[in-house]
């Protein structure tokens, strides 16, 4: 079974602090993702990575950066935490992020970690 782990389940930080959220997957997946989940807004993609040292902005990258130095690890960094970054952060990984030549979409399912509930005071 795919296992995605996140470094903390709950985190409380102060405004202006630098925050690191770590995610590790054990299935040799190429792709890793960071989302935040807020009531009424659903899941929103912050950043994703399709290979080591490669990253792409998602829908809401402002105020965040990421790092992927090793294939199994994807870190989300809040350079200077603000109260509007209080949220549930979810990491995910997937084997594929494309469609086959025959138009099939297997192996694109994302497997999620347990989430980190971050509170910024």
């Amino acid at each position: 079974d795919v296992k995605v782990t996140q470094s903390s389940r709950y985190l409380v930080k102060r405004t202006g602090e630098k925050v690191f959220l770590e995610c590790v997957q054990d299935m040799d997946h190429e792709n890793m993702f960071w989302y935040r989940q807020d009531p009424g807004l659903g899941l929103r993609l912050i950043y994703f990575s399709y290979d080591v040292k490669m990253k792409e902005k998602g829908d809401i990258p402002e105020g965040y950066s990421v790092s992927r130095e090793k294939k199994e690890r994807f870190s989300l960094i809040l350079e200077s935490a603000s109260t509007n970054q209080t949220s549930m952060y979810l990491c995910a990984s997937s084997f594929s992020l494309s469609i086959s030549f025959s138009g099939r979409a297997e192996n694109n399912e994302q497997f999620f970690g347990p989430g980190t509930r971050l509170t910024v005071l």
Partner: protein, 113 residues
């Protein structure tokens, strides 16, 4: 951008009752994914549909994708308290040069014993 609607937003049923959750996309999709989330936890993958008319089942949960590949329904038969949680659909589409998985806002299911 991809428009994705889930309905209803929330649902309260009595144990033993059947229920249906719908997911509608404004565009044809390559794949549709159903996930379940317990409060405060991560998402658990349930099943994936990609062919028009395809239907899959997992225990008492059945999901179907319509022929046009724009709408999916998730049906739970004889609901149990263990079915309670948030059900999210995700659609796999192409945006520019990238593919992405876009999620609906979820349906909160409560099952009363």
């Amino acid at each position: 951008s991809q428009e994705l609607e889930q309905s209803p937003q929330s649902l309260i049923v009595q144990e033993g009752k059947n229920l249906t959750i719908n997911c509608t996309s404004s565009k044809t999709l390559y794949g549709l994914y159903w996930y379940k989330q317990k409060y405060g936890e991560g998402l658990i993958f349930l099943m994936m549909l990609q062919k028009g008319g395809e239907e899959k089942s997992h225990e008492k949960i059945t999901a179907k994708l319509d022929e046009k590949k724009q709408q999916s329904s998730l049906h739970i038969t004889a609901s149990q308290p263990s079915h309670a949680g948030i059900y999210l659909c995700g659609v796999f589409t192409r945006g520019g040069s990238n593919y992405k998985l876009t999620f609906g806002k979820g349906t909160l299911l409560t099952v009363n014993p």
